[in-house]
């Protein structure tokens, strides 16, 4: 029996949570059925690690000690993240193929596909800088 191929995790962010604007209610129901089938299909293949919609409310916290708290709405923007899916795939191409098969793309949703890392690049830069400083 061959060893299983190592899998990687990819985060899919679904942007544009108001893509149903302009759709008739019947069309919307049809698309939702397709979306549920798509999701169930992925779960069935064991590719879904996690996934949820995100509420339209929310806050942006910024500034020193997070003193600035700005309200949403985030849902108005085409850039706003409406939900996420954490998938397991062999490589980025497969993760992109999974994204491409999502039925809401027809209606203007964009899907950001990001590889999940073991370590944050900022931490990585810190480590490298420390190392080069130590060797100087």
């Amino acid at each position: 029996m061959s060893a299983p191929t190592p899998k990687s995790e990819y985060m899919l962010f679904f942007r544009g949570p108001h893509w149903d604007r302009g759709l008739s209610a019947e069309e919307l129901q049809q698309v939702m059925a397709q979306v549920m089938a798509w999701f169930e299909g992925l779960k069935h293949q064991g590719k879904v690690k996690a996934g949820q919609p995100l509420g339209a409310e929310g806050k942006h916290v910024s500034g020193k000690k997070g003193r600035t708290i700005a309200d949403g709405p985030f849902a108005e923007s085409k850039e706003a993240v409406g939900g996420y899916l954490l998938v397991e795939a062999e490589n980025l191409d497969e993760a992109v193929a999974i994204a491409k098969s999502n039925p809401t793309l027809e209606y203007g949703v964009t899907i950001e596909v990001r590889p999940v890392l073991e370590e944050c690049p900022i931490f990585d830069r810190a480590r490298k800088r420390l190392l080069s400083d130590a060797m100087a």
Partner: protein, 141 residues
């Protein structure tokens, strides 16, 4: 015996992937140390059940059948999502209080706090229509 507080799920999305540009190595090292300690503490307290940094390169899929596949970079943008935490807390106030502890904030990172929804808003609208027209069975199948 205490009763457990009902928990709500929130996501913290860390926006800004290059806020460490221009800070000294000592500052960066401190942020890194503080961030790991923060993550570990939240996990130990049972408030954070997961989190990951995300690679800055990636793809943006759009258009019919996802025919448009654009490359990043996502790293240039102050809006780019650099990572996330998944929280289970008493409510939004607590999620915000946790967000305010983020060590990257002092340097310009922005933390987006989003409630996890039971059902996607679009699906809610579909279900609502189905209930109004009596076609509920197919909508929730």
């Amino acid at each position: 015996m205490s009763t457990t507080t009902p928990k709500s799920d929130y996501m913290l999305l860390f926006r800004g992937t290059n806020w460490d540009e221009g800070i000294s190595p000592e500052q960066r090292q401190k942020v890194v140390t503080d961030w790991y300690a923060w993550f570990e503490r939240l996990k130990q307290e049972g408030k954070c059940t997961g989190g990951h940094p995300l690679e800055n390169e990636g793809k943006l899929v759009s258009g019919k059948k996802g025919r448009s596949v654009a490359d990043g970079p996502f790293a240039e943008s102050k809006e780019a999502i650099g990572g996330y935490f998944y929280l289970q807390v008493a409510g939004e106030d607590e999620a915000i209080a946790i967000a305010q502890q983020c060590p990257g904030l002092d340097y310009g990172a922005v933390v987006e706090v989003r409630p996890v929804a039971e059902m996607c808003a679009v699906r809610s609208r579909a279900v609502e229509f189905a209930e109004r027209t009596g076609t509920l069975a197919s909508a929730t199948a």
